[in-house]
């Protein structure tokens, strides 16, 4: 009788074990996406960006300008890129971080869900000294790719901002480009 019960329950046990293994595997592969080889850091730089409201937890690469004049983008789609010719996040002025939008090889890009961010959401950035700076989303705007971007990359209110950019709108098959740029404006949290 005992043997009979065990035999009947075994599919359930196997299924549960399978589910556990799958979840472990899923969590492992998700974690692996975030692994980046160690880089030798010469100065304090932003390292980690988090937007908990949309599940973004990305490493920060340092990017500059392409020969075409556009801000460069991160090498890995799961990472984000800090514009290294601007200010550091937390300094007075507008720091800018961009990230890819979309999917490739069944893998989503860092800012694939950036359009879900709402005003008031929290964005945190940790630098290479493990100092965490918090920003609060203050505005959300869409631009044409060729619009003047000065309002995104500069500010003159004496405050500290971190602006996030990714693509949006529909895919232009001819130019192989999305038709809009989504910008999330944030202000540094002021602690009382």
């Amino acid at each position: 009788m005992k043997i009979n019960i065990t035999t009947k329950k075994s599919p359930v046990i196997i299924s549960i074990i399978g589910l556990i293994f799958f979840l472990i595997f899923f969590l492992y592969t998700t974690t692996q996406k975030k692994v980046l080889a160690d880089e030798v850091l010469q100065t304090i730089v932003p390292m980690h960006l988090k937007i908990e409201s949309i599940g973004v937890d990305a490493l920060v690469e340092s990017v500059g300008i392409k020969p075409s004049g556009e801000m460069d983008t991160p090498k890995l789609i799961e990472n984000v890129g800090w514009f290294n010719l601007g200010v550091y996040p937390g300094e007075i002025g507008s720091a800018v971080i961009d990230g890819h939008y979309g999917w490739i090889n069944n893998k989503s890009a860092a800012f694939d869900n950036l359009y879900k961010v709402k005003i008031g959401d929290i964005v945190t950035i940790k630098n290479s000294n493990n100092v965490i700076t918090t920003f609060i989303v203050s505005n959300i705007k869409k631009y044409n790719p060729l619009d003047n971007s000065a309002a995104v990359f500069t500010s003159n209110d004496g405050k500290s901002h971190l602006n996030l950019i990714t693509c949006g709108g529909t895919w232009d098959t001819e130019n192989k480009n999305y038709r809009e740029r989504l910008v999330i404006f944030t202000d540094k949290e002021i602690k009382e």
Binding site: K8, K9, P11, V12, S15, I16, G18, L19, F22, A37, E39, V40, S62, G64, I65, K66, P67, S68, G69, E70, M71, D72, T73, K75, L76, I77, G81, F83, G86, G93, D98, G99, H100, Y101, G102, W103, I104, N105, N106, A109, F111, P145, L146, D147, S149, A150, V152, F153, T154, N156, D157, G158, I165, T166, C167, W171, K176, N177, Y178, R181
Partner: protein, 429 residues
Amino acid sequence: MKKINNKIIIAGISLFIVISIIGAIKVFAATTPFFGVTSSYTILSSTYTNTVPGTTVTGDIGFTTPPAVNPAGIHPNYGSGAPYSTAGTDQGNLLTSLNSQPCTFTFPDTAIDLATDTSHGTIGVYSPGVYCTQATRAASIGTAGITLSGAGTYIFRVNGALTTVMNSVVTLSGASACDVFWTPTEAATLGANSTFKGNNIDASGITLGTNVNWVGRALSFGGTVTTAVDDVLTLPTSCTLPPPPPNVDMGGIYSMPWVTPRIDVTKVATPVSLPIGGGSVVYDYVISNPGSIPLSNVTLVDDKCSNITLLSGDINSNSKLEITESWKYSCAMNLSQTTTNIAIASGTADFTTVTDTANATVVVAVPVITVIPTPTVLIVSTTTAVVPLFPDAGLDPDPNFFPWNFLALLSVIFVSVLNLTKNKTTKPF
């Protein structure tokens, strides 16, 4: 007797057909083109980006915008000094020659993983030839890697982006890195810890992950080459490089790629960035003829700079752009804001007009006034800010996307629920 005659005729026809087929195959076999001075460059770019120590490059490195951190290794030519611009011209000729060779195999109309594709033959193994993806189709090299088997020339004409995944390996079995060519039309990205072989000609930019081992050349004149920590790039050694193509040789194996009129223009702005308020910029253009026929009615126009002057190049003063000539032009103008302008070169030969374009962007800094209030004084400081154009961060929608993770999760849950339900209903009293 009549039967014997027929047999002889049939045998003769068969022999003729076999010889014709073999001859045809020989004519269209992939060939390694003339490299010119490009052969000494391991990296050729307009912007070379390397932000961390630990990269090693053996061979020349060409760029106009230097890296933040110089790579280790020996590179006799470093920067934009001669023969940098000639190498750029030669890179264009090299690509033209590669593109003129007909495809020996065209992949199905989908993004291709070269490591798993079976449409071309044995999975993961490639013999010499010209392999082409369909229009706008990318190619990747998956974890299983690929083997290039046999001596000869390999041309992978990717009409999209080229990507290698982390830890992937390109293995040579009888092939030489000297004779392997990758010509993606979009950016190339090599995954971390990957091993890559061959010459990648890609003006859209080439980016390496960390710890990439690459024997070959990263040729992106006009584009950006980005290396990372622990990358090792080595120029192929013991290459038997082919001679320059004959001028006009209708009977030679090179004749097919070189009968078409062609024109090539490159454009370099000096400087590429200006301080607040802008300033003067000089654009230098070089027009060359990578085809086989001299071009007449050669013109060069720039959509923003109107005072273009021909400096030199028409060696025999016949007003025709010979295939051995490079015509140099210059144009100066003042810029007050970030500007991208396009140059269009055109020429005519054999009743055909050919054109080529080149663009350049000069970034002009904008002033940022930062107001810092203090209890007694107001300090106003002015700094320089660089304002680029918006980034292009969108990924080409993946036609092969399928959420396997979620499907697998749903399957497990479904089986679990099914078993639970089954056990409940069959529980013995």
